[in-house]
């Protein structure tokens, strides 16, 4: 090489030995962005997967019982019985099939065609007239689907009660009638509670899974060894790796939030700023966990498995996204405190369905930041040992 090359080299030496260099960091960020944009699987995970997940939770997975098939056996020919039967057929939550013989519906219950049936007995008119404590109707449900059975029972009770209340206008002495009101989700649509939670799942996939994979890929392909042998420091390499995925995660959140509000009609009662702040802070433990996994596994297959079991599944099962944390046994409930997604799901539900309640956000933000700090501390230690 010529003297020109040597001159450059001399000029470079002092800058090269600095511990943290912004230009080197930018070079690494530019490289990572090039790679991310060129790799179709990254874009698939960041932008297509969230749409698929949201669609799934909006339409396919519904925790609401709607149009449950039940039978109504009308054994009494009386006018009141007819009017009660009409009340059943008038609801939009039950899909009512009428019969005159309980043997007909019993078979259908066994075969699974019906989830339950209501018998309006032959002596219905007399029972009604007696005003006694005797039950008016018999409700049979399919106990192999406990949730649905519960729902059918309660709903059928409700129908009978409100039918009675309707008649009570001309008849006296009706006891207290409850009129339930559900806050934050007046129609009790599970979609509204699920979609904000689904954003947490998407961010976990990008933050933990994708990051674990891309860092493990560098170890696997030997590019990490080459980069470590340059003057770039461990901090630069790691931040250069995470920054692009942080941005990607935030973009993906924005996209998912827009989809939730404009397509699925989930209200955003809180502010966009609060949503972004919460998401940004959640990225800290998510990325930290991904980084820690990759520096321990250093191989893509293993990294994907660990990310699945320690990141994705807990975020799915233990965050309060699908299953209520209060309903879990105490030991499991204690474990959920270690899952960053738990704090994020709670905050997301609040910011979407209730509004900006900083009394809820602040402890959650602190918890996420603390877990993130632990992950980063461990990852830094694991990576500092470089090739050993």
């Amino acid at each position: 090489m010529s003297a020109a090359a040597r001159k450059h080299a001399d000029a470079v030496l002092p800058a090269g030995s600095r511990r943290f260099d912004r230009r080197r960091l930018m070079a690494l960020v530019a490289k990572e962005s090039h790679q991310a944009l060129r790799d179709p699987s990254t874009l698939l995970i960041a932008f297509v997967l969230p749409v698929v997940l949201l669609l799934l939770f909006a339409y396919a997975v519904s925790l609401d019982a709607r149009d449950v098939r039940v039978g109504v056996v009308l054994e009494s020919p009386g006018a009141s019985a007819q009017s009660l039967a009409a009340a059943f057929s008038g609801t939009r939550f039950l899909d009512v099939h009428f019969a005159h013989d309980r043997r007909e519906v019993a078979d259908q219950l066994v075969s699974g065609a019906l989830r339950g049936y209501v018998v309006i007995p032959q002596d219905f008119e007399q029972r009604l007239a007696r005003h006694g404590s005797e039950p008016l109707v018999q409700i049979i449900t399919d106990g192999s689907y406990p949730n649905t059975a519960n729902y059918v029972e309660n709903y059928a009770r409700g129908v009978v009660q409100s039918w009675r209340a309707g008649r009570a206008i001309d008849a006296p002495a009706q006891a207290v009638v409850l009129e339930p009101r559900y806050w934050f989700n007046p129609e009790l649509e599970s979609r509204r509670a699920l979609i904000p939670g689904a954003i947490a799942i998407v961010m976990t996939i990008i933050g933990t899974m994708l990051t674990a994979l891309v860092v493990a890929r560098e170890w696997e392909r030997g590019t990490m060894e080459a980069v470590l042998s340059t003057p770039a420091s461990v901090a630069e390499i790691l931040i250069g790796k995470l920054l692009p995925y942080f941005v990607l995660g935030m973009l993906s959140t924005l996209g998912a939030a827009a989809l939730a509000v404009f397509v699925f009609g989930v209200p955003l009662h809180g502010s966009l700023a609060a949503l972004l702040l919460l998401s940004a802070v959640f990225m800290v433990p998510a990325l930290g966990q991904g980084l820690l996994i990759s520096s321990l596994a250093r191989n893509q297959f293993l990294a994907a498995q660990i990310a699945l079991f320690t990141g994705f599944l807990p975020a799915f099962m233990l965050s309060g996204f699908l299953y209520e944390i209060d309903a879990m046994p105490a030991p499991i409930r204690a474990v959920t405190h270690l899952i960053p997604a738990r704090y994020f799901v709670e905050s997301l539900k609040t910011v979407f369905l209730a509004g900006d309640f900083w009394a809820v956000f602040v402890p959650n933000l602190l918890a996420m930041a603390a877990i993130g700090a632990v992950f980063f501390g461990l990852a830094q230690r694991a990576t500092r040992k470089n090739l050993e």
């Binding site: 090359a5 470079v12 090269g16 080197r24 060894e225 003057p231």
Partner: protein
């Protein structure tokens, strides 16, 4: 050496010391990778770090670049301690790891820009340096190509360009010659020569002992210990007058080699084309070998010593010549003289043709070599011949059975030893043997007898309950061979059987193979060790999916004879053949 380098080298004392290694030790768990190693690497010189796989070359390289911390001793590179001044090491050294360390999904230019900026340079201001590096590596026309789409040789050149960014004082290259075709390898040598001429210290690590001869100075490692430090000529000079060749032995060469190796005065011997090359023990005279030559009615000629001779001698000589295994085997009977044949064998993977219309016939009892650099198509061809891959077109027969129709029947008549031995790490040695007996449907008495016979032949009795991974390399190789021979196949396929194996284990292996061939077993072998092709009766040379030559090793070498090169090596022959085929293609186009 250029005049400038000469002036650097003439400086006295430690001033010309690029790397000072002082008592370095390194242990990974149970394995002692380096033991008390001390040496000095100087500026303006190409230093070879030579040794078989597992000798500790990569560990030493990584310690020198500050990527590993030594357990004992210290290393100073360009005056900086690799542990205390770790940051300075990364500035003063350029390192090219063994595996391609560049981003395959970035283009050539993007990779170069990244490394320039990581080393604190601005690609826009240093256009002259970029132009210079592109010119130097001849990568100019390919700047927009993705690094993953480059050939093996071009990848290494790009790696070199990135390692040379910001002009390091010490350049460390970890096995740059692996996966590179001989033509590109020549290019790399030329580039490294130019760099040392300017005063840079270049370390080139290699498992190929022939590469060591090209270095100005050599550090020879074996099992973590330094065996030799100095110019390779110094080492080979010690063996002057001890290397001989029995010329034109012809068909009897395997028998002659066996006899020669069993002579007490012979330390090492190999087959070289139609001849047998031997190295005598220190202080031994030529009486015994001369009488063997007389008995075989051939001429005994002195030949220059090679670095490999010296290496084997340092380790106390090669193994004996008689294979206990071959003694056990009954001679192979086959219906026809043709053991393996293929016609217009072709394999395409999408638009990529891996094997392009290859045809040849292999005779019974022949050792047939498939030779070529990585990516030339030898593995694909090989896998089609043993029924592991379905050809896109053409046909292949093994012992008269059509591989497309009677794949199962053909497979039961052939033995296959895969690369890296492919033994079951979680099974013991005995369980591995039992498994392979079971897989080849040996039952009852035969099965017990055959297993006991293999244990006795390969001397595995002391290792039966050990796991294969804990075996010494030589025993591991014996076990793999035993497993593939369990059903006494008339045809044996060996895929890169000796890659990563030290020269002594390699010789022991060839002793067995020679013995098998003498019993009439047909051996098909792939290798990228050009020297190893000398053991073959005939060699098929593959380059870019095509069969470019098929002949005896001697005939192939004769094609490359020029007045300047009266005694070419297999590698010379290969380069010559590739270049002349390429000229023919250009002339035709």
């Amino acid at each position: 050496m250029g005049p400038q380098a000469a002036s650097v080298a003439s400086q006295p004392g430690q001033h010309d010391a690029a790397v000072v290694i002082d008592g370095v030790g390194k242990r990974f768990g149970e394995v002692q990778a380096l033991r008390g190693l001390s040496a000095t690497i100087r500026y303006g010189r190409l230093t070879g770090l030579v040794g078989p796989d597992g000798a500790g070359k990569t560990t030493l390289m990584r310690i020198m670049t500050g990527l590993l911390v030594p357990d004992a001793g210290s290393v100073a590179l360009a005056g900086f301690d690799v542990v205390k001044d770790n940051d300075a090491i990364h500035v003063a050294s350029g390192y090219m790891p063994q595996r391609f360390g560049l981003y395959e999904d970035l283009s050539v230019m993007e990779n170069m820009r990244l490394y320039a900026r990581l080393r604190g340079m601005d690609a826009d201001r240093h256009t002259d340096l970029f132009a210079e590096l592109l010119e130097f590596t001849r990568l100019g026309p390919f700047t927009k190509r993705l690094a993953g789409k480059l050939s093996g040789g071009m990848k290494q050149k790009l790696g070199l360009a990135c390692a040379l960014m910001a002009r390091p004082k010490v350049l460390l290259l970890d096995e740059p010659g692996v996966g590179v075709d001989p033509v590109s390898r020549q290019d790399l040598w030329r580039m490294v020569q130019a760099l040392t001429d300017e005063g840079m210290a270049v370390v080139w690590s290699t498992a190929y002992l022939d590469e060591a001869e090209r270095c100005e100075s050599v550090l020879l490692l074996n099992q973590g210990k330094l065996l030799f430090d100095g110019p390779p000529q110094t080492l080979t000079a010690q063996l002057e007058g001890r290397s001989f060749r029995l010329e034109n032995v012809g068909a009897e060469r395997r028998a002659v080699l066996t006899q020669a190796l069993d002579l007490p005065s012979v330390s090492d011997g190999v087959i070289q084309g139609a001849g047998v090359r031997v190295v005598l023990r220190e202080g031994a005279d030529t009486e015994q070998i001369q009488s063997l030559a007389n008995q075989a009615r051939v001429e005994l000629a002195p030949v220059p010593a090679r670095f490999e001779d010296a290496f084997i001698d340092l380790l106390g000589g090669g193994p004996g010549g008689t294979s206990a295994l071959a003694g056990q085997l009954p001679p192979v009977e086959l219906g026809s003289d043709i053991a393996v044949s293929c016609r217009h064998l072709t394999k395409r993977f999408g638009p990529f043709t891996a094997t392009d219309s290859v045809s040849f016939e292999v005779h019974k009892g022949e050792i047939f070599g498939l030779l070529g650099p990585n990516g030339a198509g030898k593995s694909t061809t090989f896998k089609m011949l043993c029924g592991l891959l379905k050809p896109t077109a053409g046909e292949a027969h093994v012992v008269g059975l059509d591989l497309r129709r009677a794949t199962g029947a053909a497979k039961s008549r052939l033995g296959y030893m895969a690369q890296k031995f492919s033994l079951y790490g979680l099974l013991s040695v005995r369980q591995n043997l039992e498994f392979s007996a079971g897989v080849y449907q040996l039952e009852g008495q035969t099965r017990r007898e055959r297993i006991e016979e293999m244990i006795a032949t390969f001397d595995l009795g002391d290792w039966l309950s050990a796991t294969p991974d804990s075996l010494p390399l030589g025993h591991k190789q014996r076990l793999a061979l035993a497993c593939s021979l369990m059903h006494r196949p008339p045809v044996l396929f060996l895929d890169e059987p000796t890659s990563g194996v030290d020269p002594i284990t390699r010789r022991e292996f060839w002793t067995h193979i020679n013995g098998l061939a003498r019993k009439g077993v047909t051996i098909m072998v792939t290798t990228h060790f050009m020297d190893e092709a000398e053991y073959c009766d005939r060699v098929a040379m593959l380059s870019r999916a095509r069969l470019i030559a098929l002949d005896t090793p001697d005939a192939l070498k004769r094609m490359a004879v020029t007045p300047q090169r009266p005694d070419p090596t297999m590698e010379d022959a290969f380069i010559h053949l590739v270049e002349s085929t390429e000229r023919d293609i250009e002339a035709a186009a």
